[in-house]
Symmetry: C2
Subunit: 188 residues, 2 copies
Amino acid sequence: MTRGRPRDTAIEGRLLAAAAEELRHGGYDGLSIDRVADRAGVAKTTLYRRWASKAELVVALITTMREEVPFEPSDDPRADLTRLVSTIAAGLASTPTSLVADLAAAAARDPRVGESVRALWSERHRAVTAVVAKAQQAGVVLDHVAPAVLVDQLVGPLYYRLLVTGEPLTPEYARTLVVSVLGPEESP
Amino acid sequence: MTRGRPRDTAIEGRLLAAAAEELRHGGYDGLSIDRVADRAGVAKTTLYRRWASKAELVVALITTMREEVPFEPSDDPRADLTRLVSTIAAGLASTPTSLVADLAAAAARDPRVGESVRALWSERHRAVTAVVAKAQQAGVVLDHVAPAVLVDQLVGPLYYRLLVTGEPLTPEYARTLVVSVLGPEESP
DNA sequence: GCAATTACGATACTGCGGTAGCGTAAATAA
DNA sequence: TTATTTACGCTACCGCAGTATCGTAATTGC
């Protein structure tokens, strides 16, 4: 079928494993393409035949590394939102700040990378959107504002703290964000 | 007083001017330290005697470039907030995205740079905080949430859109953020 | 005048991301 | 078998940020 010499299918895995090791030890900056190729026992050009840039390699790596945590909505939108936002906050807090920042920078530089990075981050965004829309339908949230804006006000502050102000992302903070959007809990 | 050969005071200005030119044309990435030094007619080592890294040079440059737009509060917190958030949105929208992202990345990598970048961005943050606190005192905003959180929900989504989702920063969006936090305007 | 001190220019260097060119290996199509 | 096509390793190279070294210029203290 395909004409030429086939790709060695084992190489990609070895490269990703080597890149993961490098990323663990030195972060995005400390990850050296030469060392990744060396560690995988492969020429640098072979790596670049699979990913066009260091950023694409790292995005691919993170995409394969991250385990899908499926979110099962309950019938309590407030609890769902709190859980979701807290999870996102915990995920961001456990990631090195510079990695998130470097991914954002790489995304801003290269539109192709931007697509991949956005795909990486959009999943959680969409989950929050779904719950917010549900909460509005249930009347838990005032619906004078579009759901997309509320989502930005729930998730945006997390990235803002991480990338801009440098303040910590605590679970309390995540809860406070939800309370601010939904209003204080009504006493039953 | 000072013992050795004095610094040539004209050099710093020439370097900053050269860096500004470079930054205009090629952005953060396109700014080459070698070219900046060349353009200023100065050795590269002389540049590094003034700023420890490219990031510090760029932060210093932006700090000197930005004109202070003084904010004079009125007695209408809603109008003040709308004006402030819209101004921040316009400022971010008119800045190349990659520059903001690269500054955030540089800030995440180097704590010294982080301080400078945060100082650069914190001014507007504090202005918003002041107006939000005032609005809470005036009873325009519910005070079940700390002002700092509301500020994050007003400003954070701007950076979030710029750096993460890539969605546009329109004046309408800024207004919607304020409406979402303050609630719909009461008919008089 | 003279020593000490600091700034400057110049050169060379390192490791980096990324590219180009070439010889060779492995597959298919004829 | 042979031509074609693609993958791979290798080497060399580019421009980049940043560092080290050294000779020299300019200033202060003595």
